[in-house]
Amino acid sequence: MTLTWYLVLAAILFTIGAVGVLVRRNAIVVFMCVELMLNSVNLTLVTFARAHGTVDGQIMAFFVMVVAAAEVVVGLAIIMSIYRTRRSASVDDANLLKY
């Protein structure tokens, strides 16, 4: 087995996350899919760090986690306030900004 398998697994999980963003309508689940995409990128970073023998990749993954945490906090707050006004957590219901 080689490190490529980690990368392929990360690619597949990333794609599954992306497809999830496209097909799920519950905003929270969409958010989870985004988290999955971020995580698979993290796996890639860690794998490349190991492959190239530097710790920088891990630092990147660490920063990604921090940013993801901040993003989740703000995103969930937005979902809450939308839910409060529209009584819905579906991303399709927030479609006022259109032609």
Partner: protein
């Protein structure tokens, strides 16, 4: 030669009436009470200055005085200086304009006494006098052009003086537009001079016109002739002149009989140094003059409106002048001579007609006159002087001047001469008809009309003009006028006419007498109906319709112009606008279609995002693996 003495101040001639017009126009209603007096005073002052200047000029050795004023236009090689030229030709015109102008101003004080717009009227009259003086005094074609347009403007304003009448407003527009057609000719002539000679001053053109090719000179002459036709109501631009009689009668007398319409004659005589080089253009001038003199006489025979008859006779008489001017060096002086005489007797008759209208509640239809000689004796006597002058009764103005033109025409070109002779006969006919219908025959007055003599302020100018109609011919004594004008018009070589001069005069008088007798038998001896007969000959119908000049213009110019502009408008709407709007609509439609992609569903946007990422990836893979 540079001017000194009073001649150096000859710009005052123009400045005084101009200042009068400015004061009257800018002063507004507070000048209403004394405005007419100021307007008259400025013109009289100009006349006095003109008289003194002319005396001074007569005493000089070299009879051409230039007054340089200021730089008018300076652009590159174009350097037009505003300057005045006082020579015998200008002097004659200055005296005619200010002299007759003064009389008509005085007359207007009475004639317009009850008109609320009297101040405006005098302001426009002053403006006209100033512009006309600039026209004849300017020392270059550009200065002439400024005056030319100025008189056009004043003529427009005065024809439309009663602008609330649709007929007057329409007539003014018609006159203005037809004048512009002629002005295009004059403008092009000036352009041609500048491009070919580099100068527009009379002296400059005079000095260098001989270097031009024959065709260019002919073109120049024909363009100037077009300008003259527009201003002087000559064929083919004659249709505006009869309509211009919608203006107040003093305007008709001053502008559309005595002065402005003769500007075309002035232009041709002033440009004689051009016409001397092109016999073709000269012949064209003579032919135009002959056609117009016959047309005017024809129209004069058919009209019942006293002012329209006089307008027809004006056309006809100016035709004589143009004919004389077209005869070259033999005729220039006689053209000016006839112009001067015509200024006297035609102003006299127009003012007389105005006096008649004044006494008959502004009725212009001669069929409603009759036997007015008892009611208004002064008007009758003065009008009779004008009448005798215009038909060429021996001893009166017209006899001397018209006779000279007919004589010269006969000796230069027999056909044109015979036409001129015929015109003289017709003149005798229609003027006698006018006299008979107005002052003789039976009373045919409207029931509420009580003809009465006009006030002194109107009759005194009539008397002066009547005297001039009788005595004006004295300037021909000893060929004085010809000699006086010769520095400008050139000396005619002596030529023997085909018949002795006395014989020609006798023939002319006989022809006129035949015309008069014809009028007596056709009009004087018969009962005159108060309404114009419906069943008339083709010739009368044509004359009543101004020889179908309007119909001709409509058919040849207006209708094709309308359809052409209609086509252009359709082209603009369909092709040009359609192209632009079509592009806009196509883009708008495309945007409308693309707009639907903005459906507000964030998942659709994410889908396109993923598709874009996949495309980039595909490109990367293809590039790297291929």
């Amino acid at each position: 030669m540079p001017a000194d003495g009073l001649l150096a101040a000859s710009w005052l001639l123009i400045a005084l009436p101009l200042a009068g017009a400015a004061v009257l126009l800018l002063g507004g209603r507070r000048t209403d009470r004394w405005g007419h007096l100021l307007g008259t005073a400025t013109v009289v002052a100009s006349f006095v200055i003109g008289l003194l200047c002319t005396f001074q000029l007569a005493g000089l050795e070299e009879k051409s005085v230039g007054v340089d004023l200021f730089t008018f236009i300076s652009a590159g090689s174009l350097d037009v200086r505003a300057g005045l030229l006082y020579d015998p030709l200008s002097a004659v015109f200055v005296l005619l304009i200010t002299g007759v102008g003064s009389l008509i101003h005085i007359y207007s004080i009475g004639y317009m006494a009850h008109d609320p717009g009297r101040r405006r009227f005098f302001a426009y009259l002053n403006l006209f006098i100033a512009a006309m003086l600039l026209l004849v005094l300017g020392n270059s074609f550009v200065a002439l052009y400024v005056g030319w347009e100025g008189v056009g403007l004043a003529s427009y304003l005065l024809i439309a003086f009663w602008y609330t009448r649709p007929a007057a407003a329409t007539a003014a527009k018609k006159a203005f537009i037809m004048n512009r057609v002629g002005d295009v000719g004059l403008t092009l002539a000036i352009f041609l001079m500048f491009s070919q000679l580099g100068t527009t001053s009379y002296s400059g053109v005079f000095g260098s016109v001989g270097t031009l090719a024959g065709g260019t000179v002919t073109a120049l002459g024909l363009l100037l002739l077009l300008g003259a036709c527009g201003k002087s109501g000559q064929f083919p631009l004659q249709a505006w002149l009869p309509d211009a009689m919608e203006g107040p009668t003093p305007v008709s007398a001053l502008i559309h009989a005595a002065t402005m319409v003769t500007a075309g004659v002035y232009l041709i005589v002033r440009s004689q140094f051009i016409f001397e080089y092109t016999s073709d253009a000269r012949l064209a001038v003579a032919i135009i003059g002959t056609i117009t003199l016959l047309m005017g006489a024809w129209i004069g025979c058919a009209k019942d409106d006293i002012k329209k008859v006089l307008a027809g006779s004006t056309m006809s008489q100016i035709g004589y002048m143009i004919l004389a001017a077209g005869l070259g060096v033999f005729g220039y002086a006689f053209a000016i001579f006839h112009l001067l005489m015509h200024g006297f007797f035609k102003a006299n008759m127009f003012l007389g007609a105005g006096s008649v209208m004044h006494g008959t509640n502004d009725d212009v239809n001669m069929r409603h006159y009759g036997a007015l000689r008892k009611a208004m004796p002064v008007t009758f006597i003065t009008f009779a002087m004008g009448y005798l002058a215009i038909i060429g009764f021996p001893g009166f103005d017209g006899f001397w001047s018209k006779d000279k033109i007919i004589e010269t025409a006969l000796s230069q070109n027999l056909t044109l001469g015979l036409c001129a002779l015929l015109g003289a006969g017709v003149t005798g006919f229609y003027m006698t008809r006018l006299m008979l219908l107005t002052f003789f025959t039976k009373e045919r007055w409207e029931p509420d009309v009580h003809p009465h003599e006009s006030p002194k302020v109107m009759t005194v100018p009539l008397m002066v003009l009547a005297a001039l109609s009788l005595l004006g011919g004295l300037v021909l004594l000893n060929d004085w006028i010809v000699t006086f004008l010769s520095p400008v018009t050139g000396e005619a070589p002596h030529e023997d006419p085909p018949l002795p001069a006395l014989a020609i005069s006798a023939i002319a008088v006989i022809v006129v007498a035949i015309g008069v007798a014809l009028a007596w038998f056709l009009v004087g001896k018969r009962e005159v109906s108060r309404t114009a007969p419906e069943k008339v000959s083709v010739f009368t119908a044509a004359g009543r319709n101004d020889l179908y000049g309007d119909a001709f213009n409509d058919l040849v110019i207006v209708e094709p112009g309308k359809s052409f502009t209609g086509g252009l408008a359709a082209f603009d709407r369909g092709t040009v606008d359609g192209g632009f709007e079509g592009t806009g609509r196509a883009l708008s439609g495309l945007s409308g279609a693309l707009r639907l992609a903005q459906n507000g569903f964030v998942r659709s946007y994410a889908l396109s995002l993923l598709a874009g990422a996949a495309l980039v990836l595909l490109a990367l893979v293809v590039v790297n693996l291929a």
